[in-house]
Symmetry: C2
Subunit: 346 residues, 2 copies
């Protein structure tokens, strides 16, 4: 699995570099070339290329051969850039993978030159995200597959992007919903993570190989939701070293995770107050975080999230075990990859 990931990560990045080189060639104005370079640098900063690799796996499992899949898979990494660039704006993030986010890059260029450099930065980054979106579909379209398959795959790609948009919307919207329930949250995880990161890529690979995408659903959706649940556990209980951001981040952002939702359901009046005071408070302290952690433990909410995640992983894996693929030898890699993703967040 490690080897498969390493080899294909490199291949996908090679495609990305080729795409950007051609794009730079094709634009005339230095400002446009600069925009391409900004998006290129952001895209190639790193990342595990999980989505691209899952797409390749979905393709190989159904007997898909050859290298044309690399282009289509690389397109998913441009979709990812598009989402992340806009996401960074929404979260007002300064850093992405250890370097300045796109809106901050542009903001820095405008400092001292306009009344509102922040506005300038966000505006340029909205456009950069839009461009990455268009590049993604261009790269996808440039891959050479039989017309019908490609057209079906494009439809699926657009559906994935649409659903991810809905997931993003419910995420933003959770801040003002009077009642944000466990069901809403699982819908969010299904749309924003499971659909986008796991099911969608596998489905695209299957379609391009002429296989049945639906087969992956009962594996990918539970695994994807479990992945997000564990990511949220790590977000509240992890160390700064492990999660790569301040341990108070999720609380400060006001993230309504299942941990928080379930804790609020079973907390005392006083405990509820503690949580609500900490949630969405940019100044939340380590002491308050520790109190919230205690409440989440005491109310059984941590156990609840953990058991649900475990159940989902087992469901998903059991489903995959029951299926026979044309190239079944790739199934082990997919299983290992699922384990790897889940383990990573533990």
């Amino acid at each position: 699995m490690q080897e498969f990931m390493k080899v294909h990560k490199a291949r996908v990045e090679e495609e990305l570099r080729r795409f950007f080189a051609e794009k730079k060639e094709s634009v005339e104005h230095p400002l446009f070339r600069d925009a391409v370079e900004v998006i290129e640098e952001y895209t190639l900063r790193g990342g595990k290329r999980i989505r691209a690799i899952l797409m390749i796996l979905g393709y190989r499992l159904y007997g898909g051969e050859g290298d044309e899949i690399m282009k289509a898979a690389a397109a998913l990494e441009l979709v990812q850039s598009y989402f992340l660039i806009h996401d960074d704006i929404m979260d007002e993030s300064d850093l992405r993978r250890g370097k300045a986010t796109i809106h901050r890059i542009y903001e820095a260029r405008a400092r001292g030159k306009v009344r509102n450099p922040g506005r300038f930065g966000e505006n340029s980054a909205i456009i950069a995200g839009d461009l990455a979106n268009i590049y993604a579909i261009q790269l996808f379209q440039s891959s050479d597959f039989p017309h019908e398959r490609k057209s079906k795959a494009l439809e699926e790609l657009l559906r994935i992007m649409e659903y991810t948009g809905y997931g993003q919307l419910i995420d933003v919207y959770s801040a003002i919903m009077d009642e944000f329930t466990e069901r809403d949250l699982l819908t969010l995880h299904e749309y924003k993570t499971a659909n986008y990161t796991i099911y969608g890529p596998l489905a695209l690979g299957a379609i391009l190989a002429g296989g049945d995408p639906e087969v992956f659903k009962d594996f990918a959706i539970p695994i994807g939701i479990a992945f997000q649940l564990q990511d949220d556990i790590l977000g509240l209980f992890g160390t700064e070293e492990k999660i790569g951001k301040p341990v108070t981040s999720d609380l400060a952002e006001g993230k309504k995770t299942l941990l928080i939702i379930k804790a609020l359901e079973n907390a005392s009046g006083e405990e509820k107050e503690v949580i609500n005071k900490a949630l969405g408070n940019p100044e939340v302290t380590l002491e308050e975080l520790e109190k919230v952690r205690e409440i989440v433990r005491r109310t059984g909410s941590l156990d609840y999230s953990r058991s649900l995640a475990e159940k989902l992983v087992n469901d998903g894996k059991r489903h995959l075990e029951g299926i026979k693929f044309p190239r079944d030898e790739y199934r082990k890699i997919l299983m290992d990859l699922a384990d790897y993703m889940i383990r990573r967040t533990k």
Copy 2:
């Protein structure tokens, strides 16, 4: 021409309504349905549907028959919603076609519920714009044309969107460029207006009818640039009633129009100061506006813009006269439409 516009505006809007009705059917969560409705209302608020109509004209000129073109043409109006939703955020506009912009609609919903309702509004609107973008390509893809033509047309649609993004970028960027020249400005108008509003739609229609899109270039690009130049003249010299926004808007926004660029080239030191003080000043007064107008007149900059626009219109029209189309009877409508667009801004 009026009749052609009226009939096809209605047909295109019918397609849009059908698309949104199906989209609402297809989404489960009430929040997602709400998002579809917000985008629908925004899209159907009005607009002349110039781009859709030009696409239909390009199609008919090349002998394209039937109604399938309506879907593809309606898709351009969703592209327009996508651009406008993001544009409204960038310009911090409160109103679009007399009603609240999307970020303001969402902002109003969040008031009193979150620390920063403005942020919430913009975040939701970034997503809404992204969704409109995806819807546009979905609707375009759902039209039934021979595979090869449709795939070529999609490529062209993506190119148009890409170039419009570059145009938008140079527009935003003009605020911090040390030197923003006449050439940069004409590039902006070519990418953001001529390509997007006139050439692109005609080219798409031609491609879908199996015709040659290039033929429209020497007509559409000059006409499009002229259209924008005259729009800028109206923006500085028009009345509030005629331009539908405060007469000081363009100055306050800091718009570096050809009028401003040429005036600065030929202005005295004192005059330059007047212009630079007014440009980008949100508090600019009517008196300052009047002074800027005088300088633009005195330096010959107004005449320069006017003559250039006139020359471009004549060039464009002359080019179209030299071409014979398979269904040449539609050429008169196209000519009239060009006249109409130019006249509208006078």
